[in-house]
Symmetry: C2
Subunit: 332 residues, 2 copies
């Protein structure tokens, strides 16, 4: 039986939407796991009273403190009784196979590293979100863990990402691209020039070379490698720019009676467009390279995203993702 | 009388669209300048035969070689007879006040630095393109010159950008934002942490703090400061992602008879949306911090962009932009 911990107190909509997402996941036959809700017991119990559910599939693990969005990443050292820390300890001690949190990203990465621990041979863990593309999804590594990266970290992210795409998204021989300012070999800053060399020399990954940011949406590279600063810029710019484009489209569609009729005629099309970019229901972003499954969902996640992340973590566990990543580093 | 050199051989559509843009600029009363077309004399003469124009306002400066898009930036050292190098020498020797090129960016930055030369006190030149935002335009510094930047370069870019926005876009006390992975002071990589400190300490610029990539489209910061690697990622991702969004919108609008009617009803709205993002007619991106005006236009520029860049350079010259930037560094 698979057990997954849920940080019931993390994120902007905790505990309400987090717990709602758990209940909705349990109601879906895709989910076979038991969920361990970590947080203030009385708060969780009160929230659970709203729902009918299979009592045998929800457990509560009390944790009196909360790491907030404003806390520094070092809160994982000072707030040991927080829902995040208590949950990460459950992973470390093998009481659950994974944890999902919508809480403070920096703290979650720090806690994943210091409490759960890195896999042998892995120098840095990596946050691995999926980006929507023309062809489906590409994996962005690093989406937020290491802002001052070294070339050898980027090389490891490519290896970890390749395992993920092969095992979890069934992409055969996934193509790895290095985010760079030009496609030519000699292009880039010091970091990407060194990383290019390491990636080229590794015959165990399918390195297709440099990828300009313009080409990321094409989906030609299954795995997009960059440091977390650049990864964060890509993720957040996509969000901000996308929201702006859609707000302008909305303004134009509501301008007058003619455009409102157009909106009605285009209703299905507009939904198609939104679905293409609204990818939160694909779940969260796993922190990979550690000895358990830690998945970060967006701070403002609603039940839908939490549910998606539960399905995702269960899939990762069934695929034995951690063990398969570990195997790649033991070979060395 | 203002003279501006035009690299007639640079870019994907040279010389045809470059020369067409020059003719169109001369036909517009906004333009009072004389244009010096630099390139192969016979090719330029042949192209000019297509048009009627005021012969006194076009000069030809012969240059037998061409720096191609495939050349390395060091081509400015080896191809001294190229249109780009000959044109840059005209700027250096004061025969023209500025030059516009759609050619190889790396070579143009290298040539601007080595042939025209940096202003006293300026450590690195910077490419400064305008980004469309909700409020109009923000200036991105660095859009492509220095991929391995130091904090002191970023500080200088903020100063240079402030002069540009005040003088050329009439923004009073323009707000400077530092691209970062969070808004809090302590966030960032080593480069942005150091740059934050320098920017905070400078009372002569209006530093508003860190700006997440998500907030760039809001236009709250008039000047967006980052290294050229990050700047390149922002510019190119915006281009690629924007093109993808519009291609999806197009697909949905042409799906069936209903959606095609919607497209007709929305015709004006769709043009409004495109205009908002199609900002090439605002001209090119100046390379600032050097002893003359060098403006880079997109490699695939058509006549429209070349014309816009000519208006822009003439404006820069009338505003005495180079001198005003220089003054900021002489004060030190």
């Amino acid at each position: 039986m698979i057990k997954i911990a849920i940080d019931a107190m993390g994120g902007d909509n905790a505990p309400k939407e987090i717990i709602k997402g758990c209940i909705e996941a349990l109601e879906n036959e895709k989910c076979k796991a038991t969920l361990v809700l970590v947080g203030k017991e009385d708060v969780i119990k009160k929230e659970l009273q709203k729902y009918k559910f299979d009592q045998t599939r929800i457990e509560i693990k009390n944790a009196n403190d909360i790491i907030t969005m404003e806390d520094s990443f070092s809160a994982v050292r000072t707030k040991k009784e927080s829902s995040m820390c208590v949950g990460l300890h459950l992973v470390r001690d093998g009481e659950v196979k994974g944890i999902i949190s919508a809480g403070n990203s920096g703290a979650l990465v720090a806690g994943a590293t210091s409490i759960v621990g890195r896999l042998k041979g892995v120098k840095r863990p990596v946050i691995a979100p999926l980006l929507p593309t023309k062809k489906g999804y590409s994996l962005l590594v690093d989406g937020g863990a290491n802002v001052d990266a070294k070339a050898e970290f980027l090389h490891q992210f490519a290896k970890i990402g390749s395992v993920y795409m092969e095992e979890c998204l069934k992409v055969k021989n996934p193509k790895v691209g290095l985010v760079n300012i030009g496609t030519e070999v000699e292009k880039g800053n010091q970091l990407t020039k060194e990383a290019f060399k390491l990636l080229s020399e590794d015959n165990n990954i399918n390195f297709i070379g440099n990828v300009e940011a313009r080409e990321i949406p094409s989906g030609d590279a299954d795995i997009i490698v960059c440091d977390a600063f650049v990864g964060n810029v890509i993720l957040k710019f996509m969000e901000g720019f996308g929201n702006w484009v859609f707000s302008i489209v909305k303004t134009e569609f509501t301008r007058n009676i003619k455009t409102k009729i157009a909106a009605l005629l285009m209703k299905k099309g507009l939904t198609n467009i939104k679905t293409k970019f609204y990818y939160n229901n694909k779940g969260g972003a796993p922190i990979l390279g550690i000895r358990g499954l830690v998945v970060k969902v967006h701070g403002n996640s609603k039940a839908e995203e939490v549910k998606g992340a539960i399905f995702q973590v269960e899939k990762f566990i069934r695929k034995d993702l951690v063990k398969k990543i570990s195997a790649k580093f033991e070979e060395e």
